[in-house]
């Protein structure tokens, strides 16, 4: 057992967890932040993407213990005072989701993308940046559209 102290979505938290616990397990099972999804067992799908110390990581491929002392942002951090984040609005308006399972990871990856690459993103850049995020439903066209629109508004 380790005590992991992190700042999650702006709040200081301290959780007792097994050393082998993945960050995604602690987020979902101990902190009830179930917006972060698990879509695969092979570190490939990106449904679990959260921001750790400001950058996108796969929370299924990181131990919670590795995040001790870190700042974590999940999909739940984006909406403020009942208002959706511009990237969430853009996914809604552009029909950037169907079942929605991949969406939290897509949106956190999109937020990371804008922070690193700026608000003006072309389709090629967006598609390359999405190489670690898999969607079973949409065919990506509307996801790319949504990210382009959301980025411009961030």
């Amino acid at each position: 057992m380790t005590t992991v102290a992190m700042t999650v979505n702006g709040k200081a938290v301290s959780v007792d967890s097994e050393d082998r616990a993945l960050l995604v397990e602690v987020l979902r099972e101990k902190l009830n932040l179930t917006g972060t999804h698990v879509g695969c067992d092979t570190s490939q799908c990106g449904a679990c993407v959260v921001l750790v110390d400001g950058v996108a990581v796969k929370s299924c491929t990181m131990l919670a213990a590795q995040a001790d002392g870190s700042t974590v942002e999940t999909i739940e951090s984006l909406a403020k005072n009942g208002e959706l984040h511009p990237m969430q609005v853009a996914f809604n308006e552009n029909h950037g989701l169907q079942c929605g399972f991949c969406t939290p990871g897509m949106i956190m990856t999109a937020v990371d993308m804008v922070r690193r690459r700026g608000k003006t993103l072309d389709d090629t850049t967006i598609r390359h940046e999405l190489e670690g995020n898999i969607c079973r439903c949409t065919g990506y066209v509307n996801i790319v559209k949504a990210i382009k629109a959301g980025a411009a508004r961030m």
Partner: protein, 266 residues
């Protein structure tokens, strides 16, 4: 995943001590190979010793005609480093093509070199540029470091601390991605050293991991042009054959990737 104990040492010495005191410990860097392996129960270390916060493994610097990168430097840091982009742009570009953004934010050069996956990108750069791999015990030439699939010259407990790349006159890397995993189905690193030697390293294709393509090196040494490669015979008997591509397909890819790399810099 099996149970394990996580440690965060504050020095190289402490890291080595924890490892030698553990029943079956492993160093942990970015975890982008080790954690998936543990999730599949293909590795079950009793202890994980996190190297990523050690100051000794950090930093990128240039001196004496070589670019030195600390083992705990992430792929994203290498890809976006002004020093790397200026000294060896092919290396920055290679780092930027590893996996995806989230993998690049965690995965490290030291972890990649130590792991020596047959489809990994950094081993091609290390061998192609004739790098020196510095460890907690010694310095090892890349030509002596990679010993076959997932096998290196590292001894038990030995830690990769940094990798020094001699700055070449020119270099380029061309990778044919496995569309699903993003690893190299075949990747070819071509470099012309300051001394005028041509070095060509191939990843993704060899049944024993990364290797130098002597035939292509010889052809390019006499004429450094893409069309010098067409006539080189590649022996496919030592190449990988799997559901992603046969040995003959990979033999052809080696030439095509080498031609593209040379065309980019000739």
């Amino acid at each position: 995943m099996h149970e394990t104990r996580y440690h965060r040492p504050s020095s190289l010495d402490e890291a080595a001590k924890i490892l030698s005191a553990s029943a079956d410990g492993r160093y942990l860097s970015g975890g982008q190979t080790l954690i998936p392996t543990m999730k599949h129960r293909l590795a079950e270390p009793t202890d994980l010793i996190d190297l990523t916060r050690l100051a000794e493994l950090k930093g990128i610097s240039e001196s004496g005609g070589a670019l030195t990168i600390g083992a705990a430097t992430t792929h994203a840091e290498v890809a976006s480093s002004d020093a790397v982009r200026k000294a060896i742009p092919a290396l920055a570009a290679l780092a930027g093509k590893i996996g995806d953004p989230a993998v690049r934010h965690k995965g490290t050069i030291g972890g990649s070199i130590a792991n020596n996956d047959p489809g990994a990108d950094y081993p091609a750069a290390a061998l192609g540029l004739g790098a020196t791999i510095h460890t907690s015990k010694r310095a090892i030439a890349a030509d002596d470091f990679f010993k076959g699939m997932f096998t290196t010259a590292l001894e038990d407990g030995e830690i990769v601390t940094k990798v020094s790349f001699p700055i070449p006159t020119k270099a380029a890397y061309e990778k044919f991605h496995n569309a699903a995993s993003r690893y190299a189905l075949t990747g070819v690193f071509v470099a012309v050293t300051k001394g005028g030697d041509v070095r060509v390293a191939v990843t993704g294709a060899g049944a024993s991991g990364v290797f130098r393509a002597g035939g292509i090196e010889a052809a390019l040494s006499s004429t450094f042009a893409a069309d010098a490669i067409g006539g080189v015979a590649i022996d496919s008997s030592d190449l990988l054959s799997d559901i992603h591509g046969s040995a003959d397909y990979r033999a052809n890819l080696i030439k095509v990737m080498a031609e593209r790399a040379v065309a980019a810099i000739a």
